[in-house]
Amino acid sequence: MVDLKWCFVPLNSLLVKKLVRNNDCMDLIERYFNNSLSDKELVLFEEKLASDSLFAKEVQQFGVVFDALKKARVKKLKAQFISYEKEYNSSGKRFNFRNLKRRKATVSFVLWIALIGFSVQTSLYFSTSSSSKNVGLFASYFEVYPNVLSPVKRTINDENFVLDAMKYYDAENYVSAIEAFDKLLLKSDSRNEILFYKALALMTEGDYLTAKIQFELMNIESGVFVNQRNWYLALVFLKLEKHNKAKMLLKEVVADSSSFSIKASSLLNELSAS
């Protein structure tokens, strides 16, 4: 059993015994954070924490470091699993192509259609005002806002209709969600929330102009969903290449100190640099 009184002797001490005991202390602290101390060790450790404020402070500081290292490990695992996901998706596409190869006529027909479609899309792409850099920036910052409406707040009328609309939204069935939101807008009092989610659904469907209209119809005096509205409208302006309007809104978002502020600050820096 390690005698905890030897913990945190200065490292520059030349005495080997003290160095060894320092190592044992570190081992104990690490095992404390890994929940692998024995019952007896845990009792002694917690007594030491309660009675020695210097020791408690050291342990707390090591806790912060271990927490960061654990997060880094999780981040690495996440990246590993994302790469497996990409590999899964790409191997699926290769399989489909092997099947098609068996039917020459069908393959030729499909290739011709793909070529025509590609030509049309390419010409549309170059004729629109979105540059590839904007597309990349937008894609890296846009995330669908989660459903925070259902189960529904008491202040929203027609609870079942909102619930149904948000079910479509949650299931990423944005076309049906937009139809449901349109019906709600005819009768519901809570326009800001519905306009907001309709705009988000329109954004995911690529209809940025109509999304912009929804955001602009929202009542910004009411305060409901205004921070969120400003962030997403900024992204819409970015997509529509209206950088000045985007920057104005981003500055508002930064000034609001909301949870979008950090992202807004980062995007603002990128826009200013370009």
Binding site: N23, V64, Q228, S258, S259
Partner: protein, 181 residues
């Protein structure tokens, strides 16, 4: 079979981990989408979170044996995550916080995340062998023996002593910088 799973994950066998990932992925995704009406993207995130929990718990030795099957364990973890998520959604206080955009916990999380990024940048700036030892052990999850072989140390015990010195150094560097900030 269960022992093989534990052993391969403990040994950081990435090929085996990839195999486990792919072999249960489709079934898990279909189950989550059909039973809980979760979107495809959320299912992918959920499944990855399940696998992260499984791997870290085995590597931390929180899970030492699997008494049922790996599939049952994966689905069990998935169910628990979904339930936790639903509890959060159905918690009126949490919903209202999000609704009025009062991210009190969110701000704390952002602060913790920023601190983690700072700590990792300090780790990147450390001199060798500390940087390598700490990264290989805590992020790449190599054993002390493997690190001893990789970095040409005499024994795992030597690596352990050095690791503790490096950890103390890292902690001192971090809190010196945090005080300056």
């Amino acid at each position: 079979m269960s022992n093989c799973v534990i052993t391969s994950i403990l040994n950081n066998d990435n090929k085996a981990i990839e195999g486990y990932y792919h072999s249960h992925r489709s079934h898990f995704m279909s189950w989550a989408q059909l039973n809980y009406n979760i979107s495809l993207t959320d299912c992918q995130d959920l499944y990855q979170e399940v696998m992260i929990i499984l791997v870290t718990k085995i590597q931390n030795k929180t899970i030492t044996t699997i008494t049922t099957s790996l599939k049952t364990l994966i689905f069990g973890i998935g169910k628990q995550l979904i339930r936790n998520r639903l509890k959060l959604i159905y918690n009126k206080g949490v919903r209202e916080e999000l609704f009025y955009h009062e991210h009190k916990e969110g701000f704390n999380k952002i602060e913790t995340d920023i601190r983690s990024v700072l700590i990792m940048s300090i780790l990147d700036d450390m001199k060798e062998p500390c940087r390598s030892i700490l990264k290989l052990f805590y992020i790449d999850n190599l054993s002390l023996k493997e690190i001893a072989v990789t970095l040409n140390y005499k024994s795992a015990e030597c690596v352990k002593v050095q690791k503790h010195r490096c950890l103390k150094q890292l902690k001192e560097d971090v809190f010196r910088k945090l005080k300056i900030k």
